[in-house]
């Protein structure tokens, strides 16, 4: 089960303070990066919820995010909805899609689950890529940002938009922790450890898995809407399986099954990407090498490493911390 250890609470407070300070102080480029981090953070929270706690390693979260982004853009541009109903519709669609994928894949485990989600993700990608409604390779432009001028908030300003994006990250984090603390979340963690026992106890396994996957899909859909609003342009590249792969990389680099770790991972990943790509065009190779090194060293990512070090300093805390959420 997910618990807020003092270390986690301290990290959260630090993150919140740092990001808000940065959002108020940074220039235009910094704010763009902050929004980019926020989008990735929501996506990896969604992925960590299922992969880190439920053992459902998904390679279709990029596609779920892309479906959210496209649904939002189409609903706003073609159906003439305003931003908020369009967002609700888009999130509902990615939730429904994730529930269906979760239900179908519930029987598969391990590598078969990874392959199955990969297949569904690619299916969504090919569909969007080929369908004339979605502009094919060119993508779609003109996704609106929510109109909050009635409240005196102007989201076309990049500083306001960055703060709005941070609030959505906080919301995603709250939803993820609430899910993990609910009965469903406890079932999910148990399922990862002993599915047969839960089956014997009378849990409808596929429904629990599909529901958890749907909640994760909803968060991915939110990330998609935010991505569409940020650049006001969507392209099929959002749905590509490499986006899902990168999200998984961020989760692992940050610390699988810690929720906070992946957020740290998202910050590091986006900053690294901008820093390295300004030096060399081959930044992917460096990310790849870091990834291989982290996985080979069997470290539990950045945050997992910090937690392990802190626990090693206090032996009794190590015993208290059951490895349930790993």
């Amino acid at each position: 089960m997910f618990t807020h250890t003092p270390l986690r609470l301290a990290t959260l407070a630090l993150l919140a303070a740092a990001s808000l300070t940065y959002a108020l102080a940074a220039g235009f480029f910094g704010l763009e990066i902050l929004a980019e981090i926020a989008i990735l953070a929501i996506l990896v929270i969604a992925l960590d919820l299922v992969a880190g706690f439920g053992g459902m390693v998904s390679l279709c979260h990029g596609a779920l995010m892309g479906v959210g982004a496209y649904a939002f853009t189409v609903a706003a541009n073609d159906a003439g909805l305003t931003a908020l109903p369009a967002m609700i519709l888009a999130v509902a669609l990615s939730t429904a899609l994730a529930f269906a994928i979760g239900a179908v894949c519930a029987r598969s485990t391990g590598i078969y689950f990874i392959m199955a989600t990969l297949a569904f993700g690619q299916m969504a990608y090919s569909f969007v890529f080929q369908s004339p409604l979605f502009g094919g390779d060119d993508g779609l432009s003109g996704a609106p940002r929510p109109d909050m001028t009635a409240l005196g908030i102007d989201l076309s300003d990049s500083r306001t938009f960055a703060i709005y994006a941070l609030l959505l990250v906080a919301l995603a984090y709250a939803i993820a922790t609430a899910t993990l603390r609910s009965g469903l979340g406890r079932s999910l963690v148990c399922l990862h450890h002993n599915e047969k026992r839960l089956r014997a106890l009378g849990l409808t396994v596929w429904r629990a898995k599909a529901t958890a996957f749907a909640i994760s899909g909803a968060l991915a859909g939110v990330a998609g809407c935010l991505a569409a609003q940020h650049t006001q342009y969507v392209s099929p590249g959002l749905l590509s399986w490499t986006v899902s792969g990168e999200a998984l990389v961020v989760v692992i680099l940050g610390g699988l099954g810690t929720l906070i770790g992946p957020i740290l991972g998202a910050i590091l990943f986006v900053i690294l990407k901008h820093e390295i790509s300004s030096i060399t065009p081959y930044w992917h190779a460096i990310v790849g090498l870091i990834l291989i090194a982290v996985v080979m060293s069997r470290a539990q990512g950045v945050f997992g490493f910090i937690e392990a070090r802190m626990a090693a300093r206090k032996p009794q805390a190590q015993i208290k911390k059951v490895k349930a959420d790993a």
Partner: protein
């Protein structure tokens, strides 16, 4: 169009050619998985390396020089990978394997860009295969027939080795139950290595064969990876027969889907895969049971 015999012959040959290319790639990947329970997402990158090496060598040694040396070079690369990364990750579980080999893809794509540049490289067909041949009323490129023949030949050799020789029996025993095979005195470790290297060589061969037909680009490994994975998941991980069946299904669905149902062609193969996964999660012809 569809009543013309020539159309069917032509599309069948196209489908067979795609199937055989995918077979060369998927057979290595699937036997490696069956034997070692290792998922190598970087298999496509080995194929890309094969294509690049063949393209480079063909400049000095001619097409056949590249064709023969590319599998050797890729096998050497595979051996290096085996000792540096693969061996230690064998028991690490699917997620660690997926991640390590995903990282390898990143490194491989940038390495090819660094060495060979971003632009596609062309490679000339060998003179002896450059031309068309009349077959059942259609003119078909000789080189594509060569791909089909090569695929069939490799299939025949692999079938013979796996079913008729002692090494084949040892490999089948290893796929079935590696601990029991080890108890019976089979050096399973060495067999793993052998199979891995042969799988890499076949990927390199596929790259060398595909190079004149497709353009050689840094992302060709990524592009072929998904079809290859689909083939082995449809066919059933770990089995030669599964790789054959999966390759044929993919080749025919993809080729005929593109000409008969163009609006659905992209989704068709994924829908088929989903159907297979729902009804038979282990694939059509799994290695065990």
């Amino acid at each position: 169009m569809t009543t013309d015999l020539g159309f069917w012959v032509l599309q069948t040959l196209n489908a067979l050619q795609l199937s055989m290319l995918l077979f060369l790639l998927s057979v290595g990947l699937t036997v490696i998985f069956g034997l070692m329970h290792f998922v190598n997402l970087a298999h496509g990158s080995l194929y890309a390396f094969g294509a690049y090496i063949a393209a480079t060598l063909s400049g000095t040694l001619g097409y056949w020089g590249g064709f023969l040396l590319a599998p050797v070079a890729v096998a050497a690369l595979g051996a290096g990978l085996y000792f540096s990364l693969i061996r230690s990750q064998r028991r690490a579980g699917p997620m660690a394997q997926v991640l390590v080999t995903f990282g390898l893809i990143f490194v491989a794509v940038d390495a090819t860009r660094l060495v060979w540049g971003d632009l596609p490289i062309g490679i000339a067909m060998p003179a002896i295969l450059d031309g068309q041949i009349a077959l059942l009323g259609v003119d078909y490129p000789l080189y594509r027939l060569f791909i089909i023949a090569l695929g069939l030949a490799i299939l025949a050799v692999l079938t013979l080795v796996l079913t008729r020789t002692q090494v084949g029996a040892m490999i089948r025993a290893g796929v079935d139950n590696d601990q029991m095979a080890a108890c019976l005195g089979i050096n399973v470790e060495r067999m793993f290595f052998l199979v891995f290297v042969v799988g890499c060589a076949l990927a390199g061969l596929a790259g060398a064969v595909a190079a004149p037909v497709l353009s050689v680009t840094p992302d060709m490994g990524l592009q072929i990876l998904i079809p290859t994975l689909i083939v082995i998941v449809i066919g059933g991980l770990g089995s030669l027969r599964g790789a054959v069946a999966g390759s044929l299904i993919f080749g025919f669905v993809q080729t005929f889907g593109a000409v008969l149902l163009p609006t659905f062609s992209a989704v068709l193969i994924y829908a088929l895969l989903a159907a297979v996964l729902v009804t038979r999660p282990e694939g059509l012809l799994p290695a065990k049971g």
